[in-house]
Amino acid sequence: MTRSARRTRTLRTAAAGAVALLALGACSSSSSDGSSSSGPDSSASSSPRPSGTVTVFAAASLKESFTTLGKEFERQHPGTEVAFNFGGSDTLAASITAGAPADVFAAASARTMATVTDGKDAAGTPVAFARNQLEIATLPGNPDRISSLKDLTKPGLKVVLCDKAVPCGAAAQKALGASHLELTPVSYEQDVRSALTKVELKEADAAVVYKTDVKAAGGRVQGVEFPESAEALNDYSITLLKNAPNAAAAKAFVELVTSAEGQQVLTRAGFLKP
């Protein structure tokens, strides 16, 4: 009885992990559906009433909160539609500088935002709207009793980190460096979701991911906060893009994100205030 119940749970966990990976694969490839339907009045920049489609390129970690905000935006401004392209901030920045048609860019790190501002693709100065803090994701119930970053260096423990090339990996290295810890993981994952999946599937004992990811994973992982994470906060910033096809609506969306209402949604997802 208990045996079969456990199996069911394992399968469900696994399925959830598979879905997460599939979703990741899907959103990084679907680029800009709907960008062409941005309405004939989008060029009338002075028009105060937003309409048509807003295309938002946003960091993958923003998926849950921005989807909520997008629905809210569409409710507040009937006749509008928000099309999202979630992905790794670097990939998104690269496609924007390569000319992808987007209205808004929300990046997970200052460095990736700099790629876009350096390329003179942003309109105005980016606004910081959230911060994300690292957290240790452990197996449910924390069977290895991990309570600090130092605990991750225990021998025999399988830890996965993000690769240094992606923001969560860079942040993790910063935190480890600040506390003078040497940590050899079993793998440097290509993004934060893959790192999390390895714990969800119980292949790894722990991963260093964002607080928001732990929250999104629900009960499949357990979060452990650690003080060194304060050394490696990720600043999320958002900007209107210079070649935005629908600048008016884009502006309104940026306003919603930075409003009190937007902040509430972000905080609920686990983000810190900027």
Partner: protein, 281 residues
């Protein structure tokens, strides 16, 4: 005439094997053929044009590049070996025996071809991972865990590459005359001896072609590998993984790595083609 001239410069000539000059090739065939060729070669050409030639020597001297390359070659070769050992008998079973549900089995065998490799990687984790259906017993009985190990890389690559070999070998087996096996049995050979001493040499060109396909697929494998085996330099970071991660913040390095992978695979494939695959024609 200019069409023909251009074609002459693009299509490599291979001496006696070339059936006839391109002069008589009908335009409805020649035109799409050339467009197809351009379509395949243009991205590679772009890679060459945009390659960071000046910083290339410096990029290539990094130890990590060679580590990744070595790991790629070793694991792709091992995956091909695994595919040969398991895939050739499987192909024989599909081609030479009749059992209920064979059509279904063949469809299942080719499934990894259509499965997104990332999903393949997840499926492998569910099967052979530490908590996987089979993996938990491997761990409990033998203390073997495949994820995050080089063996895991080989497993992931073999999973994705083996169908290519099975399909290729099965096709060759179907085309081969089964009566040779019968002749061998009338001479006193068991079915296995007949397979080993008659069928295997007869289909060797097909096996070589399949092995080359599988090797090439394994060498370029990314999704299943990074999902199942993770990414750790020197242990599980193959060239495609290194390329992908370099692409995140250093596209120039990524291009440099790609060039290395391309050069090595072209060298190996061209070498093999001359030695083995000519026998198949």
């Amino acid at each position: 005439m200019t069409e023909v001239d251009r074609a002459r410069t693009v299509v490599p000539e291979s001496g006696a094997r070339r059936a006839r000059a391109l002069g008589g090739v009908p335009l409805p065939l020649l035109l799409p053929a050339l467009v197809g060729l351009a379509f395949l070669l243009l991205p590679l050409l772009a890679l060459l044009i945009r390659a960071p030639w000046r910083s290339l020597p410096q990029q290539l001297t990094s130890a990590e590049v060679w580590q990744a390359l070595q790991l790629s070659l070793v694991s792709a070769t091992a995956a091909t070996a695994v595919s040969l050992v398991l895939g050739v008998p499987l192909a024989w079973l599909l081609a030479r025996t009749d059992f209920p549900g064979r059509g279904l089995v063949r469809a299942l065998v080719t499934l990894p071809l259509v499965l997104p490799p990332v999903v393949g990687g997840v499926a492998l984790l569910l099967a052979l991972g530490r908590g996987g259906v089979v993996g938990q017993w491997l761990d409990a009985w033998f203390g073997i865990t495949l994820p995050f190990t080089t063996a895991g890389v080989v497993v992931a690559e073999a999973f994705v590459a083996m169908p290519f070999l099975v399909i290729s070998v099965e096709g060759t087996l179907r085309a081969a005359d089964p009566r040779y096996e019968e002749a061998a049995t009338t001479l006193g050979a068991s079915r296995f001896t007949a397979f080993r001493r008659v069928t295997l040499p007869l289909i060797a060109p097909g096996i070589a072609a399949g092995a080359v396909l599988a090797w090439a697929r394994a060498l370029g494998e990314f999704g299943a590998t990074i999902t199942f085996a993770g990414n750790f330099p020197g242990r599980t970071q193959t060239m495609p993984l290194a390329v992908y991660l370099a692409l995140q913040n250093d596209p120039a390095a990524a291009i440099a790595l790609s060039l290395v992978l391309l050069t090595v695979s072209i060298a190996v494939l061209a070498g093999l083609r001359d030695r083995w695959m000519t026998a198949s024609t």
